[in-house]
């Protein structure tokens, strides 16, 4: 698989299927693992990092789940390609930084990816569409067991899986959901909900993970505690809390539909109209308007387009994706024009005049 092959494919997690996919966009589970006795990435020599790459590759080659996987050496990719992989949520922004000795392994469906030599030697990620915590965590566990056949993990009977940062030690597992919560935002319940989550040891972040802001009513929510609870316990607890949020959002949506149907329709069709007609549009505005359109589809107010189309626009309208589609570097101004063109084309709006 070539990196450009990904461009015209929809990642599995963006299919818009799976349980509660009107509210939960995707489920992600990641495991942090390190090779026994070797210094963690930041403290390891080049030779030791090389050793991690060799081991990681050997382990992945023996794995059934990674039969058709591809290895991308970060240093061999252009900055644009690295950005492209971040936009597809296949790796963290940190993995693009200082690319030497860093590798990304992905399988063609883009469900599984492994970062080698990120903060930890291995960061195993499973990402699926909809509210799918159990499937995602059991797939991650299966892959983990396969890799463990080759790699001897750093582990202590007291502290569990040992990680570079003590916030990940224990299970090394972080489960997270990407939620779309427009109704909780409109009805001003969101702050209360987020505060309550903080007290339960659950963190809220923006669209691209740590250090990014919440745009367009999209929230990435994940468990914080990794030590002292089993994987099942963490998943079970997290699932229970997330279920409550999903229920609350669904309630708020129903209430809005009965009480403010006209105002809501107006907002949704205005957003749709702008997207269909704009000639210049920034990525921030796109995210905000697409969020409203997505909301409209899920409320049944916008029957002419579907979620898959929305998801496609979401991914393709990002800076690196746009530039790869155009096959050349674009200035921010040029991107805003190309983005508007792309969206108009996808939504069947007016052609260029």
């Amino acid at each position: 698989m070539n990196i450009d092959d990904l461009l015209n494919k929809t990642s599995e997690w963006l299919k818009g299927t799976g349980p509660n996919s009107d509210i939960v966009i995707s489920t992600r589970v990641r495991l942090a693992r390190n090779v026994d006795k070797l210094p963690f990435t930041h403290w390891a020599s080049g030779k030791q990092r090389e050793q991690v790459l060799l081991l990681g590759r050997e382990a992945a080659e023996k794995s059934n789940l990674l039969k058709d996987a591809t290895y991308f050496k970060m240093a061999a990719l252009s900055e644009l390609d690295r950005q492209f992989l971040i936009e597809r949520h296949l790796m963290s922004p940190e993995h693009a930084f200082e690319p030497e000795y860093k590798v990304l392994i992905i399988e063609p469906r883009e469900v599984i990816s492994i970062m080698l030599n990120e903060e930890d030697h291995l960061r195993i990620q499973v990402i699926q569409s909809g509210f799918n915590l159990r499937d995602a965590s059991s797939l991650a566990a299966k892959l983990d067991a396969e890799l463990n056949e080759t790699i001897n993990y750093a582990y202590s009977i007291k502290w569990g899986y040992l990680t570079a940062c003590p916030t990940n030690v224990g299970t090394g597992m972080r489960a997270s959901l990407m939620l779309h919560l427009p109704a909780l935002v409109i009805t001003r319940q969101i702050n209360k909900v987020l505060q309550a989550l903080g007290k339960l040891g659950i963190a809220v972040r923006g669209l691209y993970g740590e250090g990014t802001e919440a745009l367009g009513n999209f929230f990435q929510i994940s468990n914080q505690v990794t030590l002292g609870r089993s994987e099942e316990d963490i998943v079970w607890n997290f699932e229970r809390v997330m279920n409550q949020i999903v229920t609350r959002e669904a309630q708020a949506r129903r209430k809005l539909l009965t009480k403010e149907r006209e105002e809501l329709s107006d907002k949704i069709f205005r957003a749709y109209g702008t997207l269909k007609n704009a000639r210049i549009i920034t990525s921030g505005e796109t995210t905000n308007l697409m969020s409203i359109v997505r909301f409209g589809i899920n409320l049944g107010l916008l029957p002419e387009i579907n979620i898959k189309m929305v998801n496609e626009i979401f991914i393709l309208s990002q800076p690196a994706h746009l530039q790869k589609l155009e096959n050349k570097a674009l200035t921010p101004d040029q991107r805003d024009m190309k983005r508007a063109d792309l969206i108009r084309k996808k939504l069947g709006g007016q052609k260029n005049v």
């Binding site: 390190n34 026994d36 006795k37 070797l38 210094p39 963690f40 930041h42 403290w43 903060e119 566990a141 067991a145 463990n148 056949e149 001897n152 993990y153 750093a154 582990y155 202590s156 009977i157 007291k158 502290w159 569990g160 899986y161 040992l162 570079a164 940062c165 003590p166 916030t167 030690v169 224990g170 299970t171 597992m173 903080g198 007290k199 040891g201 250090g211 505690v225 990794t226 030590l227 002292g228 609870r229 089993s230 994987e231 316990d233 963490i234």
Partner: protein
């Protein structure tokens, strides 16, 4: 002292803020400090924060602390304080005394309960077996079934001896 923000909980964090030469001192509880911390994160980064938290509840002599060094990778405790990351898996054991309270603070626990990699599964089972036997021993003593208790005690000793032997073997490797 109660927290300056919520006015309810006991203070554990003392924060000095200097904004435009104006010094304000805040005494915060854990929850409010955490909230404040997320506000400050963009300025200082999580690593500094973790490093700063690292000495929480530890009464070690400063000098002893500054000399702490992992024998496997050479990373020092002072390095950890600076960057908030450890050097290797063995650092956890080397800095145990200082890390345990920090981990307790972050996770509310100091003991892993999740799964184990293949190599450690046996050791986990032995530990769990010993725990089970201890509970049975306790009960047997309570019931004054001393013969049974002696049997269980010997079983525990046997398991512990095996465990120690393995540890030594590992060290020699």
């Amino acid at each position: 002292m109660v927290c300056d923000i919520c006015g309810k909980n006991e203070t554990t964090v003392h924060l000095t803020e200097i904004i435009n030469n104006e010094v304000t001192k805040l005494h915060l509880c854990e929850n409010c400090a955490r909230e404040k911390a997320s506000e400050m994160e963009e300025h200082f980064g999580l690593a500094d924060l973790l490093g700063g938290m690292a000495d929480f509840g530890v009464q070690a002599e400063p000098e002893e602390m500054s000399r702490l060094k992992c024998s496997n990778c050479g990373f020092t405790y002072m390095d950890f304080k600076k960057i908030g990351r450890l050097g290797c898996g063995e650092c956890y054991e080397a800095f145990k005394k200082n890390l345990a309270p920090l981990l307790k603070r972050i996770h509310g626990s100091e003991q892993h309960y999740g799964k184990a990699p293949i190599k450690a599964q046996k050791a986990v089972k032995v530990r769990d077996d010993i725990q089970g036997l201890r509970a049975r021993l306790h009960k047997a003593v309570e019931m004054e079934e001393f013969e049974e208790a002696a049997k269980i005690r010997d079983q525990i000793k046997g398991l512990e001896k095996n465990m120690d032997k393995k540890k030594e073997n590992n060290k020699e490797k």
